[in-house]
Symmetry: D2
Subunit: 116 residues, 4 copies
Amino acid sequence: MEREEGKVMDVSLKELSRKLEEFAKERDWEPYHSPRNLLLAMVGEVGELSEIFMWRGEVARGLPNWKESDKEHLGEELSDVLLYLIRLSDICGIDLADAAIKKIGKNAIKYPPKAP
Amino acid sequence: MEREEGKVMDVSLKELSRKLEEFAKERDWEPYHSPRNLLLAMVGEVGELSEIFMWRGEVARGLPNWKESDKEHLGEELSDVLLYLIRLSDICGIDLADAAIKKIGKNAIKYPPKAP
Amino acid sequence: MEREEGKVMDVSLKELSRKLEEFAKERDWEPYHSPRNLLLAMVGEVGELSEIFMWRGEVARGLPNWKESDKEHLGEELSDVLLYLIRLSDICGIDLADAAIKKIGKNAIKYPPKAP
Amino acid sequence: MEREEGKVMDVSLKELSRKLEEFAKERDWEPYHSPRNLLLAMVGEVGELSEIFMWRGEVARGLPNWKESDKEHLGEELSDVLLYLIRLSDICGIDLADAAIKKIGKNAIKYPPKAP
């Protein structure tokens, strides 16, 4: 997960999961990380994400004309939702990587691609 | 992203992102994938996730006593939130992997680990 | 709260509150109506409300061109959010009518009307 | 809607609706009050409401042991959800009072009271 100049950054769900577990342990946050506490924390972050979009009317793809600081704020709120979602999955004992791959497969069957 | 017997599954945010882009293209869904449409779709999935937890009172870590089918349903709803979150980030032009790594770093400064 | 032909219908928060309390009692639902259970039920309804709006792009005031059945569905989802919100307030011992009136007053001070 | 010492306060949905319409007009907020803008604003308030409950574990009815300032904060967030919900209904042309009464009637048929 090191950031290097000029390299495309990527990270796996399991790497994020490990990082978040370590983070919680180092801060004695584990007693707070019950499933419903984490779910409500995630709902809180979804609210903050919605607030970024609330008074703008429809927003174009790629966010043209958004200030760099607004995009950075958006990246943080998207991340907050992601991090609580991963932590919630872990605390529930759900393997999110496995579940996500399975769900894409299930969706592919439910919604077959249109004929060429 | 192949699933192999006996191997721990993992997947990166960028792999999921590519998969979802391809998925939308093959089904002509791209015109529907505007930022606010995707945000509302994600809020819809957060609602379905909440419904799994709504009448249970507090839930223990690891979900002891949950039926296997309930855990599978939970995995699907967690995945739905994840997939729309990744797609929303992409459509906004936000690099979620990069943003998440940065956010963990920022949180580490904001909440320093307790002294040993 | 009787509905009469040709009359404008209205209802107060306290009337709805009494109705919902009676409803829960008659069905032995009270043990389920804890604050966080009701909050998550409300989040579930907010999700269903969002699903009505998710793939439509921007929607005009008054919902021109919506089918009557879609408007009726919308009215039901808006009501579901309202009813859980009122019930949540009651179970928390919060007087929502009083709180709402106070909040409008507070907002009026925070956001003074523009000069004529 | 005057508050008088020693009187139980109540308010109807239509009174709140009128108050909010006047409030928006006096501040030139009407251009911002599109259906999806108001929906996202409401989701934002649901997030703030969730944040009040997120790290507390299960919460008892009546909120014993909560500080008066926490209860007041809760009343404000419950009100914010209510006020945006009413405004959203109005802007969509949905009569929320009528819809809520109908929905209670529909629920009463769907979930008949248990036999005595």
